[in-house]
């Protein structure tokens, strides 16, 4: 069985029972007669190579969790239906409150709209200045570019 730990509180969050992908034979095999198994030496004949490949395969299979094969926690049919109904009701309530949300009301900017609108227009000099500032900003933004320092794709070398 696999267990999921919360590292901070050091408690088990849940555990899964999983079947290994490949039936796992006796892993602590007796070493081959005579010679020690040297990790760096290459297998010298066919059987050794096979054995090595099988070990690699088994090790990989042990590290892979087949999610589809996990048993559910055993919820009964009626429990499942009840919960589905519960969730669907909650969703309905939430979607109703969301659609009822009113848009933000308009703030009041002045109590004298006619006076404000009749006041002098923005001076031409101000408009020129703002246009110039905007042009500078636009120019600066358009000069932002990526400065590539290293290769993005590299060969992954296995020593």
């Amino acid at each position: 069985p696999l267990k999921c730990y919360n590292l901070q509180t050091n408690t088990t969050l849940f555990s899964l029972r999983v079947k290994p992908l490949i039936p796992d034979p006796n892993l602590d095999r007796k070493p081959t007669s005579g010679s020690e198994r040297n990790a760096d030496s290459l297998p010298s004949n066919r059987t050794d190579e096979q054995a090595l490949l099988t070990t690699i395969l088994q090790r990989t299979a042990l590290n892979i969790i087949d999610v589809s094969a996990v048993d559910s926690q055993g919820m009964e049919q009626h429990e499942y239906m009840d919960r589905a109904r519960q969730y669907s009701t909650k969703l309905e309530v939430l979607s109703r409150t969301l659609s009822q949300k009113k848009p933000v009301p308009l703030p009041s900017l002045t109590s004298q709209p006619h006076q404000v609108l009749a006041a002098d227009l923005v001076p031409y000099a101000d408009v020129q200045q703002v246009s110039k500032i905007a042009a500078y900003a636009y120019s600066a933004i358009s000069q932002i570019k990526v400065d590539a320092k290293e290769e993005l794709v590299v060969q992954f070398a296995i020593p």
């Binding site: 703030p107 009041s108 002045t110 709209p113 006041a119 227009l121 001076p123 031409y124």
Partner: protein, 99 residues
């Protein structure tokens, strides 16, 4: 009711049209903006966006009047009592000539 709203707008110097808009739609329109629902829609969006600018989370919006300036005319916009007032005015300002 419309006369009270529009009387003041009519008298604005060099105005060539106006709109009074509420959340529900256009309440009054005249001149070059008569029945111009499209411009009303665009200006409503612009002014709502402008109202969202706040300095350091201040409660009040930053401005009293929003001006949309084109070469020959300006839309001056403000909000009062849940209504948006828009006036189209002629813009005769040019580069000052030094004699």
């Amino acid at each position: 009711m419309t006369t009270a709203l529009t009387q003041g707008l009519e008298r604005i110097p060099d105005q060539i049209g106006y709109l009074v808009i509420s959340e529900e739609g256009v309440l009054a329109s005249a001149g070059e903006l008569e029945n111009d629902e499209h411009t009303a829609g665009v200006i409503m969006q612009m002014v709502r966006t402008a109202c969202r600018f706040r300095l350091h989370g201040a409660a009040e919006p930053l401005f009293k009047r929003m001006s949309v300036m084109f070469e020959d005319y300006v839309y001056a916009v403000t909000i009062s009592g849940q209504k948006v007032f828009v006036v189209k005015r002629q813009n005769n300002q040019r580069e000052p000539v030094i004699v």
